[in-house]
């Protein structure tokens, strides 16, 4: 936790005005099935503040051009805004250099990029890759594919019934064959915030680099990749209140420089002849083709917005709503919370009596309440807890205690229908 709170937020003393925050999100004003929308599916994707929408609109209306290749004014402007966004992300993560920030399509592509470049170069037959029992499919399947190709083995850090990783078991998994550890910072299905700083220290003692899947953590906590000493840190823009189709892979420059390119094409080259191609410098070496320019700029606007609110203030506020939600939901007869880690954030995952989560979700929807129901792309987590699916209410910076009350009322209604 210390790594997440090392940078002090000067605004943390001021009160958090959630009503004003909600004003910044036009989509929240609507009614669904005649009821005010209660959006609690933030772990799937968050809603977008007005500044992001306006930034996208302005980009296409005023600056749209291809980047890194034109001498004309629009191209220079588009390039400048896109590269400024990269610098904002660098500061947001406290990376050492902007060229350590690679734009991807999403978090999934970030994992695949590392598996297909670093992984293919460094993993050999008989080697091992360590992941955890609470990974999203996106941090399982790319490693399975690599292991299959190379004849390597996947090892899994187990967890306890609260949904906490067993670090003493992790220690036993580390050995000279271990080539990489890939672990989620915060579980999308359970809300557990893993002690990644400790995990990274342990792996580094064995000389093993660590990839951290920050897709969930990055919009709930202040992340400092240098304090964590993460080798790779990945996330997607659309969970960070930015557009879909844009993601980020942070990598230490020394690692990125030694990695082969991911995709070939324009922008990633220095010179091309039919005999030989010289690759471009970081970050362009990993960014073939025209990227999602508007998406990158929109993500930069989302980061401006979050820094305005202050990540620490957001985290402290969400933690209050989470505590209230845990208290109110566990008081409901027949409700079983899945994921009760001591350090957890913003996710309420549960089952209600023997009512199937899909049926819970449909009834809640008629009350205007949006939750996720299903396996949350984490089937091994469901298997670990012996349930086919859960209902998941997940919080963001604009959710309120009143919305938790609406959820509780909705769940009472579910019990009426299926009682």
């Amino acid at each position: 936790m210390t790594a997440l709170t090392t940078r002090r937020d000067t605004k943390s003393e001021l009160a958090y005005d959630v009503a004003r925050v909600r004003e910044d999100f036009p989509i929240l004003k609507q009614r669904v099935h005649g009821k005010p929308l209660v959006y609690l599916d933030n772990a799937a994707t968050t809603q977008k503040p007005r500044i992001v929408l306006e930034t996208l609109d302005r980009y296409y209306k005023e600056d749209n051009a291809n980047i890194h290749r034109g001498v004309h004014t629009l191209s220079e402007r588009a390039t400048r805004h896109y590269e400024e966004a990269r610098v904002k992300i660098k500061s947001f993560l406290n990376a050492a250099d902007a060229h350590e920030i690679l734009f991807t399509r999403n978090a999934t592509e970030g994992v695949n990029l590392v598996a297909q470049t670093y992984g293919r170069k460094n993993v050999r037959e008989g080697d091992e890759i360590v992941i955890s029992a609470m990974e999203h499919h996106s941090n399982i399947v790319p490693w399975q594919m690599l292991c299959e190709e190379k004849g390597a083995a996947l090892r899994v850090i187990p967890m306890n019934d609260a949904g906490e990783l067993l670090l003493e078991e992790f220690e036993k998994l580390l050995n000279p064959r271990t080539k990489l550890v890939a672990v989620v910072h915060m579980s999308n299905a359970l809300g557990t915030v893993n002690p990644v700083e400790k995990i990274i220290q342990m792996a580094h003692r064995h000389g093993v680099p660590v990839l951290v899947d920050g897709a969930q953590a990055v919009y709930h906590r202040q992340v400092d990749v240098r304090a964590l000493d993460a080798d790779f840190y990945i996330f997607s823009g659309h969970k960070l209140y930015g557009p879909t189709g844009i993601g980020v892979l942070y990598g230490k420059a020394t690692l990125l420089e030694a990695m082969p390119p991911y995709q070939g094409g324009g922008d990633m080259i220095r010179s091309v002849t039919f005999e030989k191609t010289l690759y471009n410098d970081l970050p362009h070496k990993f960014e073939a083709g025209t990227p999602h320019i508007a998406g990158g700029i929109g993500l930069g606007a989302a980061i401006d917005y979050l820094e305005g609110l202050g990540m620490e203030r957001i985290a402290a506020y969400e933690q209050q709503v989470l505590a209230y939600g845990m208290e109110q939901l566990t008081a409901l007869p027949g409700l079983k919370m899945i994921g009760t880690a001591r350090d957890k954030a913003s996710v309420l995952s549960f089952i209600l009596d023997d009512i199937h989560p899909h049926d819970v979700g449909t009834v809640l929807d008629t009350e205007g309440i949006a939750v996720r129901t299903g396996h949350h792309c984490a089937q091994p987590v469901m298997q670990r807890f012996g349930v086919p699916a859960t209902v998941r209410a997940s919080l963001a910076c604009y959710n309120t205690q009143e919305e938790i009350d609406s959820l509780v009322r909705g769940l009472r209604k579910v019990k009426e229908v299926f009682g």
Partner: protein
């Protein structure tokens, strides 16, 4: 609320709680598994088909109220029917739940007409039709598990 009651009719809630023909059929000569990867629902349909007639039919599995009730009521509706009759009933049922058929023939569908509320909930159409797609696979004996995706 009216849409909700329309979806979760008493008959459906009853079949969800006490599914009919919920067992493995020991003398089955055909069976198939179906999955809905979206929600993790699974169903296995067992059939005893003799001379083109469904002599016996049962199911096992886990799923939401809609998918369980649909499987339960399907088995009740098809016992004793010919294979071609079952195809016709499926076609009618499918048109009912997808809303394809604006004026469904309620009489022809009999008890299965209680699924008419599903059309208002597009996300749930797959739940209602999983058992039927699996039945079709069992009838043609596909080897690979059926998926609604």
């Amino acid at each position: 609320m009216s849409d909700l009651r329309e979806l979760y009719q008493e008959v459906i809630l009853d079949h969800n709680k006490q599914p009919r023909n919920f067992r493995k059929l020991e003398n089955a000569n055909r069976e198939a598994e179906g999955h809905n990867p979206l929600c993790g629902d699974e169903v296995t349909i067992y059939l005893d088909v003799e001379d083109g007639i469904i002599q016996d039919i049962s199911f096992q599995g886990k799923g939401c109220a809609i998918s369980k009730a649909s499987a339960s009521m399907m088995t009740a509706a098809l016992k004793g029917k010919t294979v071609s009759e079952s195809e016709e009933i499926f076609a009618r049922f499918h048109a009912l739940v997808t809303g394809e058929d604006e004026e469904p023939d309620i009489e022809e569908l009999g008890k299965l007409a209680v699924f008419s509320g599903v059309r208002e909930f597009p996300a749930r159409v797959k739940c209602a039709s999983l058992a039927w797609h699996t039945l079709r696979a069992a009838l043609v004996q596909q080897d690979t598990p059926v998926s609604t995706e």
